[in-house]
Symmetry: C2
Subunit: 237 residues, 2 copies
């Protein structure tokens, strides 16, 4: 786990993030100069809920599980993929993290001091606008997740998740699950045992599963069951 200033070779990837793409060069450089990059092995806890938010985190490679615990129980809330940020809201409000984060695999994470983020927000209008847009996006994502949870059964959630993955994989009828099943279960708010059964229960709707490989024999049939709704399932709006 080596900590070092950010190598300039990482700048372009970060610059492309829509959070940083619309700002002027100089404030961007200010942010980058104060930032660090660290390489983490799998399953390392990066932040713990309740801690104060000293850094905005950016996943450069690998992936990060955002999860929460209460009274001995634990649930996956979301996953951060490259290249994206996480815990922006805590950074902005200078408030404690509401979620913990751990690497799922070997990951490179950039750390930008929260103070710098707040300072540059005031100095650069493009950055300010991008932060607002990103926050609004995050908010809408959680609302969608909440609707998914409150309005659907676990089988319906799985069916819609598969449709999302299918679309994400380029509208082909075969693809691999993005993460291990026990995590998928937690994300969907169910147990691993039940996920196993849910896959079987989707068989009549043309879903075939082999390990982490999914084949959707009849997309129309699955859609008829899942009833996908852009106001819940479309991540872009």
């Amino acid at each position: 786990m080596v900590r070092l200033g950010m190598p300039e070779s990482d700048y372009p990837d970060i610059r492309e993030l829509h959070l940083f793409s619309e700002m002027a060069d100089e404030p961007f450089m200010t942010l980058m100069r104060g930032a660090y990059v660290q390489n983490f092995p799998p399953r390392i806890e990066l932040i713990t809920e309740g801690d104060s938010s000293d850094f905005l985190h950016i996943v450069l490679s690998g992936s990060v599980d955002l999860f929460s615990s209460w009274n001995g129980r634990e649930t996956s809330m979301a996953t951060a993929w490259p290249v994206s940020t996480f815990i922006l809201a805590a950074t902005i409000k200078d408030a404690p993290y509401l979620m913990s984060a751990r690497t799922l695999e070997k990951s490179r994470i950039a750390l930008v001091p929260s103070q710098d983020v707040r300072a540059v927000f005031d100095a650069d209008q493009g950055f300010a606008r991008a932060i607002v847009s990103e926050l609004a996006q995050c908010y809408r994502s959680v609302i969608k997740a909440q609707k998914d949870l409150k309005l659907r059964s676990s089988l319906e959630r799985l069916a819609n998740h598969l449709l999302q993955q299918q679309k994400h994989s380029g509208d082909v009828n075969e693809f691999d699950l993005q993460f291990e099943k026990r995590r998928l279960a937690s994300v969907l708010g169910m147990t691993p045992e039940n996920l196993s059964r849910a896959f079987k229960a989707l068989h009549p709707y043309g879903v075939e599963i082999d390990g982490s490989h999914v084949r959707i024999a009849d997309l129309g049939e699955l859609k008829r069951f899942a009833k996908p709704d852009p106001l819940i399932d479309d991540p872009s709006t």
Copy 2:
């Protein structure tokens, strides 16, 4: 249902909202001059999910239920009380509403054109900062709600809700429920029948209920059961 330009007597209330308190006078007046105020009877649908977001809404008096539907089911997502705004995220992103809204009682609602909000955001730094802060706050509220849903049983959710209400009522041991039980049930993600039984199930922990009046005989006992957690239950952080 009368539509008219906003009377100046409403300005001070709105000005006090932290969304508008830190901005300069002139852009504030710009927003107000473009705004409308309407009086609505109870149970009127103000906005429908999926519609485009033409106005930022501000509850001046009364209260508003934010709810969502899918496949014939419906759930309450949140309640907007005076004086606060709702659907800020949709306004900012110029994206369709993710939730519908209906008045719970006779209500006065101010409508600020979304275009104006976006324009003034670019012109006034104080307003920009306030919007970011408000959005981050909203985001964190939903995350808390999601943790509540995924990590707790309905009985635990009710117990913690009562503790929140108790605190909100000024730390007294008797208070009235803020809304009718069928809505409370929906907010807590349960059925009215089950809410009824849940109140009874909390009796051993010192909860007594009479109509909408609640008496908490033993706060310590209830807390021992509910295990409130600031990272889920504290609305301010």
